[in-house]
């Protein structure tokens, strides 16, 4: 156990917890998406920390994080697209008023 592992794990867990809190507590779609970003960010920190801890000499696996970040960006693009469309149609992105989106 290297001494740098714990601060990284704690940071990841904090990010994850803030993300969960954000996703669950905010009703604004934008805020909600930001919570989800934080969850993912926490997960990525965890991944990088464990990878570095287990294989300090082979950083190639950490390329995964780049892919996840790309996916995040795409996800955000879709999410904000939905938000903009909704705002244009309704004039609000409050998710408590969007039960009809269940289809």
């Amino acid at each position: 156990m290297t001494p740098e592992l714990f601060p990284a794990l704690i940071t990841g867990a904090a990010l994850f917890g803030i993300g969960i809190y954000g996703a669950l507590s905010q009703t604004n779609l934008v805020m909600l998406l930001m919570g989800v970003e934080l969850i993912l960010a926490g997960a990525m920190v965890n991944l990088v920390a464990f990878w570095h801890h287990l294989h300090p000499d082979t950083p190639a696996g950490q390329m995964f994080v780049l892919i996840v970040m790309t996916v995040m960006a795409v996800e955000m693009a879709v999410g904000f697209g939905v938000a903009i469309a909704r705002f244009r149609a309704i004039g609000s992105v409050e998710m408590e008023e969007a039960a009809e989106l269940k289809g």
């Binding site: 998710m95 408590e96 969007a98 039960a99």
Partner: protein, 630 residues
């Protein structure tokens, strides 16, 4: 072409053509009768010249049908043809106002053809057939005006009388054929003994029916309901003559006893019907009764053993009587009646017709030189020469006297009285037919010696007979002209007017036997009916048994059906309650589950996120617990 065939087929063909074409009946009838007449005269000439004519037709096995022209049959055929032809000429005038000329002339010609067949027939079977045909034709003609009420009964009566007497002919023919083994008439004439007696008596019965001899004389007077040309034909050459012709033809076969019976029947008839004629109130009925009387004279001649005299009288009478009837027909048209009460002075209306009528009447009475004189003279001579001279002669003389009386009475009634002239349609034709017949009736006597030579059978000549005949005729004429008929008849008057209905007449002799036969038939029928009824009962019982069986079967089938039905119902119930219920509850559960699951899908992202987090946490915890435990 054979003359016999032409004689018969010409009128027959004309009759058929009239019926088929249904137009120009007069021309067809006239041409048919003329061709028949020419053929018949040719036949007569052939026969006199010694050329024999004969036709053989295939008939029953070993009993061929044949038509022969002997002097007798050829002479009779000529008579039928001449009278038929002249009556047809007359009828053209007589029927001018009638609408049913087609039916009338067709039947008349059929009648002539049938009569030609009868006289020319050379065997009994053909003769029987022709005998039936003339019966039928006369029935049709007497009933020609069938819409008038009394006509139907008259036609039926004539038919019944002649038909019942025809039974005699049938039995006689059977006896003759059985005895001789052949149906040829000439062959059967050699029959002798008991068969001849029986057959002779039966033939007499048949002749009595057809020639209207007492006691079967009633129908002839009633047959006056038919048209007058029919009466003329019927009385002179055809139906009534058939009886006398039958006896004349079979005379060589008849034994003495039968001849005596024939003579007596003829004698009684001539007397009785002479009295009836004297008492009649109707011209045509007088003539009808006179016909019976004259045929009675012929039977006397046959009975006296001189059939030739009967034949001569048949010929003379044929022309005389048809003339009288044709004259009466003119008077009938001129006064629309034949009752004497209407005919007073009718003769004055048309002197020429009356002249013809009177000539014929005198000929019938037997005044020389008219034909009737010679034939009646021959009969009186025959009666005198016979073995029963007193009986026969007195009967014949009485009849001659009566003839004079009733003819003179008719002439007197026709002449005395006022004229009532009105025009008659078709008088020319009627006059032509009448003139032809009257001339023949007047001069036929001249031909008698020739006929005697043909038959090479000289008649018994007798001056006493001539004198007696003339005296009787003269007395009769004088009495008839000057003394009213009622006075002449005296106590016999009611009898005469009742038609001398012996022992009930028609009723006893025809109606009662016919009714008895009918009753017998009814009894037979009733017995048969009972049989049928019993059979029906049996059938019903069988049917009832069958029905019971069927009902049982039906019940069985019904029960079976009901069982099947309830089984089906049970299965259906099982289906409904069991399988169906199971499936339905499954479906219901699914629906329920679905609605539950749907509730999760709220569309509220937070809730769903929360659920996701909780569930993920739970899964995580579940995975972690074993890790922590070990």
């Amino acid at each position: 072409m054979n003359l016999i065939a032409a004689t018969i087929l010409a009128p027959l063909a004309a009759a058929l053509l009239i019926l088929l074409l249904r137009r120009i009946p007069l021309a067809l009838a006239l041409s048919g009768a003329t061709v028949g007449l020419l053929a018949s005269l040719g036949l007569l000439a052939d026969t006199v010249a010694g050329v024999s004519n004969e036709i053989q037709l295939p008939g029953l096995p070993e009993l061929p049908l044949s038509l022969v022209a002997t002097p007798l049959t050829a002479l009779l055929s000529g008579l039928v043809a001449v009278i038929g032809g002249l009556v047809v000429v007359y009828a053209i005038g007589y029927m001018k106002r009638d609408d049913e000329k087609v039916r009338f002339f067709a039947t008349m010609l059929l009648f002539v053809a049938a009569m030609q067949t009868l006289v020319l027939a050379g065997d009994w079977i053909l003769l029987l057939a022709a005998w039936e045909l003339i019966g039928l034709a006369s029935y049709l003609l007497i009933g020609f005006w069938y819409r008038r009420p009394e006509v139907k009964s008259a036609a039926t009566r004539a038919f019944l009388y002649t038909r019942s007497a025809d039974l005699g002919l049938y039995v006689a023919v059977f006896i003759l054929i059985a005895d001789a083994g052949s149906s040829n008439i000439t062959t059967t004439l050699n029959t002798g003994g008991g068969a001849a007696t029986a057959a002779g008596l039966l033939l007499l019965v048949a002749a009595m029916g057809k020639s209207a001899q007492t006691p079967l004389h009633d129908w002839l007077q009633r047959a006056m309901a038919g048209p007058t040309p029919v009466s003329a034909l019927l009385h002179s050459a055809t139906l009534v003559a058939a009886g006398a012709i039958l006896l004349i033809r079979t005379a060589p076969m008849l034994p003495d006893e039968v001849l005596l019976v024939i003579g007596i029947v003829g004698g009684i008839t001539t007397l009785v019907t002479g009295l009836i004629a004297l008492g009649e109130r109707d011209l045509k009925r007088t003539l009808a009764a006179s016909t019976s009387s004259q045929y009675g004279l012929m039977l006397v001649a046959v009975g006296a053993g001189v059939p030739l005299a009967a034949l001569l009288h048949l010929l003379a009478h044929a022309f005389i009587k048809s003339s009288l009837f044709l004259g009466a027909g003119v008077f009938q048209h001129s006064r629309d009646s034949t009752a004497f009460s209407e005919l007073h002075g009718a003769g004055r209306d048309r002197p020429w017709i009356f002249f013809g009528f009177a000539l014929a009447a005198l000929a019938l009475t037997g005044i020389p030189p008219l034909s009737g004189f010679f034939s009646k003279d021959a009969i009186i001579a025959a009666a005198l020469a016979s073995s029963y001279a007193p009986l026969f002669t007195s009967l014949v003389l009485a009849s001659t006297l009566l003839t004079g009386a009733y003819m003179a009475r008719s002439l007197r009634i026709l002449w005395q009285g006022n004229t009532r002239h009105h025009n008659i349609a078709g008088l020319t034709w009627m006059g032509a037919g009448l003139a032809g017949l009257v001339i023949l009736a007047a001069i036929l006597g001249a031909a008698f010696p020739a006929i005697e030579t043909i038959f090479s059978d000289p008649l018994p000549g007798n001056n006493v007979a001539v004198m007696l005949g003339l005296v009787a005729a003269g007395v009769g004429l004088t009495l008839g002209w000057f003394v009213p008929a009622q006075r002449l008849l005296g106590p016999l008057r009611p009898w005469s007017q009742r038609g001398f209905a012996i022992a009930g007449g028609f009723n006893t002799w025809v109606v009662r036997p016919a009714l008895a036969i009918a009753r017998g038939c009814e009894r037979l029928e009733r017995a048969l009916y009972d049989e049928v009824l019993a059979l029906r009962q049996l059938g019903l019982n069988v049917a009832r048994g069958c029905e019971r069986l069927e009902r049982a079967l039906y019940d069985g089938a019904l029960a079976l059906g009901r069982l099947g039905l309830s089984l089906g119902q049970a299965v259906r119930l099982g289906d409904e309650r069991g399988i169906d219920g199971l499936i339905f509850s499954l479906v219901r559960g699914m629906i329920h589950l679905g609605s539950r699951a749907r509730r999760l899908q709220s569309g509220l992202i937070h809730r769903e996120l929360a659920i996701t987090v909780v569930v993920t946490a739970l899964i995580f915890a579940t995975l972690l617990i074993p890790l922590l435990a070990f």
